[in-house]
């Protein structure tokens, strides 16, 4: 395998996004509208109270930005990429090259993500920061721990999207799966409502599912809602989930390759 090819894929994906400048403006504007809508909803929900269940409004604003555009990124691109490649038979093109398809996907989508971070998330965060205000991390420890959590979050979301995309090998369409995934994830991940506002039994169950590591835990760590022991413990559980999901992706990919039906050729 040619390791140098993978950074090159990430760079290529990044570059290819520069071509569509209007798309960048549209996405940035869309994210901005959605974040301000969520800030307005939380402001209304707090109804002048300084805190609800020990959470302050500025904390919720910061949570909305972290859990939304930054952590819960546009994963459907991964699903569509895999789904389309299967449906149109274009996956053959990747199989004809000496490369590992899941690693190719990982590097390409990391490139897309990096682009979206620079072109969309950072400007949106700056605007929100200067208008409504954002909080710094709760402590140096929490600030530093946010980074490994962020990495685990990114990889879990990527592997989940990959898994669903790969299932298209059997179901030959990723479309219905995407709806299912979208519905489950927006609730279970805490991207819309943090788990601390959910009824305790639900929050406990969701807190052990891998989806919670996408938005909820990284944002909660940033805001200092987990003490150092819990922070380390949950990072471990997150890594365990990531390992399981990665193993599932690789196993499914291996199975898909042998049962591969290249369509339309």
């Amino acid at each position: 395998m040619r390791a140098a090819a993978y950074p090159a894929f990430a760079l290529t994906a990044f570059q290819s996004r520069l071509v569509y400048r209007n798309q960048v403006w549209a996405s940035a504007f869309g994210d901005l509208v959605s974040i301000f809508a969520r800030i307005a909803i939380w402001t209304a929900a707090f109804a002048g109270a300084t805190q609800v269940d020990g959470i302050t409004l500025p904390e919720m604003v910061t949570y909305a930005l972290l859990s939304g555009p930054l952590l819960y990124w546009e994963y459907s691109r991964v699903l569509y990429d895999v789904g389309d490649a299967v449906r149109t038979g274009d996956v053959a093109v990747f199989l004809l090259k000496p490369l590992h398809y899941p690693s190719y996907l990982l590097s390409t989508h990391f490139g897309h993500f990096a682009f979206e971070c620079v072109a969309i998330v950072v400007p949106v965060a700056l605007i929100v920061g200067f208008t409504v205000g954002l909080l710094p991390p709760a402590s140096l420890f929490h600030g530093l721990m946010f980074f490994p959590y962020w990495a685990v979050s990114w990889l879990i979301l990527f592997t989940l999207a990959c898994l669903c995309g790969l299932l298209a090998f059997w179901l030959l369409t990723a479309f219905s799966l995407e709806w299912l995934l979208m519905a489950i994830m927006s609730l279970f991940s805490g991207a819309i409502i943090p788990l601390w506002f959910l009824p305790t039994p639900l929050a406990t169950i969701f807190g052990y599912l891998p989806f919670a590591w996408i938005s909820y835990y990284p944002a909660a760590v940033y805001l200092g809602k987990l003490d150092p022991t819990a922070t380390w413990l949950h990072l471990g559980i997150g890594l365990l989930w990531l390992g399981l999901l990665t193993a599932a992706v690789l196993a499914l990919w291996g199975k898909a390759r042998t049962r591969l039906v290249v369509q339309g050729g």
Binding site: M1, V93, L99, G265
Partner: protein, 333 residues
């Protein structure tokens, strides 16, 4: 040693039977019947290094399926395929590094990027040493006349330009074997000609083994001395193109024109097939018969004004072949 060998290769696809109507689709969710499609049915052949082989057959004959098995992206249902001494699907990555593939209907270029960037990605993917990459790129750019558009994004290229870029892309890493699945599909006459001349040159000068599937017989005539014909997943013919003509007994056609109608003519060396009076069409008896033999037998005294000899057209040869298929099944070389 053979560079590619296939022995009794079969590929069977299982397709779910679709039942008609809404009720049928609902039933299909719970129980599924499968139809078996035998895309490749017991095909064997060997290909030597440096050969150029045309793989020909009508739509749905199993050409692409065979190519996909040789490139390691489909697994044969039974039989074995060996490419460069390896089983392609179990050694997909090693195999992929040593072959080049062009699919006429699928692009391997990055749509939004300049052609040059796609080439550069291939340099990374195949780990091509920088000096060799620069050499190959310069040579291919000249040979395929790509200098004018190499810095333009792929989406702005014409089909002919794109196809030349696809072929160049498949050759940058000096593959030992080049597989092409309908490389001239949709191209205009000039573009087809460029591609054919180039492929023939690559095969001749660099010794790259070429396997090409096509509908266009001219592709085969100009690039591939050897022809493998398939239909319904079965091998119909494997051999030289001129041998195919002989096997089929396609005879050359001779047209004689006279100043005045000489009346019916019967010859031993040629058979009269159409008599238009002053113009008569004959089929020459066999490959050895020369035009001189016919004229000698005809003798002087006829008011002969023009002679025209036509080689049997390959399209015609193949059409006769498919029409006489059942009769020829036993006569396979």
């Amino acid at each position: 040693m053979a560079i590619i060998s296939a022995s009794s290769v079969e590929k069977i696809f299982r397709q779910p039977k679709r039942q008609a109507g809404f009720g049928g689709s609902i039933r299909g969710l719970f129980s599924r019947d499968f139809t078996e499609i035998r895309a490749v049915d017991g095909i064997s052949f060997t290909i030597q290094p440096g050969e150029a082989v045309g793989y020909l057959g009508p739509n749905g004959a199993g050409k692409s399926t065979m190519i996909k098995m040789m490139t390691g992206i489909l697994v044969p249902s039974s039989g074995t395929v060996q490419v460069l001494g390896r089983e392609p699907h179990t050694n997909r990555i090693t195999n992929a590094a040593e072959i080049g593939v062009v699919f006429g209907q699928r692009s391997q270029l990055w749509w939004d990027l300049p052609v040059r960037d796609s080439f550069d990605l291939n340099r990374h993917i195949y780990d091509i040493p920088t000096a060799r990459f620069a050499d190959n790129l310069a040579r291919l750019t000249t040979m395929l006349d790509m200098a004018s558009y190499i810095d333009r994004p792929v989406r702005q290229l014409s089909l002919g330009q794109r196809m030349r870029a696809e072929i160049a892309m498949a050759l940058l890493h000096d593959p030992k074997i080049l597989f092409l699945d309908e490389p001239t599909i949709g191209l205009d006459v000039v573009a087809k000609d460029t591609v054919r001349k180039f492929l023939a040159e690559v095969n001749r000068d660099r010794g790259t083994t070429i396997i090409l599937t096509t509908h266009d017989l001219v592709d085969i005539e100009e690039i591939c001395p050897r022809l493998i014909m398939v239909d319904d997943g079965k091998l119909l013919f494997d051999g030289e193109l001129k041998h195919l003509r002989q096997t089929l007994g396609s005879r050359r056609r001779l047209k004689l024109e006279f100043g005045t109608d000489p009346g019916p003519i019967t010859l031993k060396t040629a058979e009269l097939v159409t008599d238009e009076g002053a113009a008569k069409h004959f089929l020459l008896e066999n490959e050895q018969t020369s035009i001189l033999d016919v004229l000698t037998e005809l003798g002087s005294g006829h008011d002969l004004t023009d002679i025209k000899l036509e080689e049997p057209n390959i399209e015609e040869v193949i059409r006769t072949f498919y029409q006489n298929k059942p009769a020829l099944a036993g006569a396979r070389p």
